[in-house]
């Protein structure tokens, strides 16, 4: 069935703003998820553990069967990518580092907000809502972010399936568990 894309009415937008206020204050979390990335020709998938600690992040992907790990860590001061055959790689910007090392286009800075169902700061964002009155589509900076499923029961609700795409680039996250913690 085609996804529902309602233009938000006053109540839906108000609820979204309330959710955004609550969730943007929570900057210490971990998701256990499945991640698939592709550029249309090549692609891969694996188990993702993403921990956000304020502005610092640890993004570890495990390959199927062998469990081989690829780990991207860093913060505003720069990023480090471990696990590749060529050893540890450093970069000022995590997104460029991923693109350079693996050819992946992953909008990490914005995904940090999108994965919570929030509009990322900077850049106009267009929202459409589903029958559950939660976002079903968010368009920002050229990316289409589809919210295919939600943990609607949690307070506040958080996304369960986030499919972001820009042209042939796709980043898909299917979340098994959200964990929130203090500093």
């Amino acid at each position: 069935c085609a996804p529902v894309r309602i233009k938000g009415d006053h109540a839906m937008l108000g609820a979204q703003q309330a959710r955004e206020a609550k969730l943007s204050a929570r900057n210490h979390w971990t998701i256990q998820a499945r991640l698939a990335v592709t550029d249309g020709k090549h692609g891969g998938s694996g188990s993702l553990t993403w921990t956000q600690n304020g502005d610092r992040y640890d993004f570890t992907l495990r390959a199927p069967v062998t469990g081989r790990s690829f780990r991207l860590r860093g913060g505003p001061d720069g990023a480090e990518l471990d696990g590749l055959d060529q050893g540890t790689l450093y970069g000022v910007d995590a997104e460029h580092l991923l693109a350079r090392a693996l050819g992946w286009r992953v909008p990490l800075q914005q995904l940090r907000y999108w994965v919570k169902g929030l509009r990322a700061p900077g850049g106009k964002a267009k929202l459409r809502f589903g029958e559950n009155h939660l976002p079903s589509l968010l368009q920002q900076n050229g990316w289409n972010v589809e919210y295919r499923d939600w943990f609607a029961g949690s307070d506040p609700s958080v996304p369960r399936k986030v499919f972001a795409s820009m042209g042939n680039y796709r980043v898909r996250v299917s979340i098994q568990r959200w964990s929130w913690f203090k500093r």
Binding site: K41, G43, V65, T66, S69, G83, D85, R170
Partner: protein, 199 residues
């Protein structure tokens, strides 16, 4: 006690098909145990392979002899690679093709640990990004397979309920992408597959 190699050879003797259950536990570089997943594995001579994770997420890997298909239903994505390129799980296929062991791997006895006899299989052709694997045997056969990567992260796979030479339907080792799933990777020469984005 029999050497691990002797136990591998005994287990692989006259083995042309195999089916069993697995539990996989991933630990990270500082030893923290992460996720445990469960599923089933099936093998058939010479290099047919099926690895199906069932909980806490679903993933299906099928090696049909020429290609390896990886299907993630939650992510609605299928990746397909030529089987020769993607032999990351090849240590398992030596069980139904033992002649390949010495050709493709350096084999080292690691002795006894946790009540099992251990064997290390290190790929001779290190260009293929296959990792070395450790195989643990009891007197009845293969019990555990471990991978340790360059970061010290581990994947520990325990097998159970092995069925030797069951009759396996050939459908187990073929894969057709479901409608609507994006197919990514080496789809050349697969007539019926609609590459990603094709209308």
């Amino acid at each position: 006690a029999q050497t691990a190699r002797a136990r591998l050879d005994a287990f692989a003797h006259n083995l042309h098909a195999l089916r069993g259950d697995f539990t996989q536990t991933l630990t990270d570089a500082n030893g923290r145990t992460g996720q445990t997943s469960r599923g089933t594995v099936a093998l058939q001579t010479p290099r047919l392979f099926r690895w199906q994770t069932k909980t806490p997420y679903q993933q299906l890997i099928v090696a049909d002899g020429s290609r390896v298909w990886t299907y993630d239903p939650d992510l609605e994505q299928v990746t397909v690679q030529r089987q020769s390129l993607r032999e990351a799980h090849s240590p398992l296929t030596v069980l139904t093709d033992p002649s390949r062991v010495d050709k493709e791997f350096t084999v080292t006895e690691l002795g006894t640990r946790d009540g099992l006899q251990w064997l290390q299989l290190s790929p001779r052709d290190s260009a293929q990004n296959i990792q070395s694997a450790q195989l643990g045997f009891d007197d009845k056969g293969l019990v555990e397979m471990r991978f340790t990567d360059r970061l010290g992260a581990e994947s520990v796979i325990r097998f159970s309920h092995w069925q030797r030479n069951p009759s396996l339907p050939s459908s187990l080792f073929t894969f057709t992408p479901p409608k609507g799933a994006d197919v990514v990777g080496d789809t050349s020469g697969i007539p019926e597959v609609r590459p990603l984005g094709g209308s």
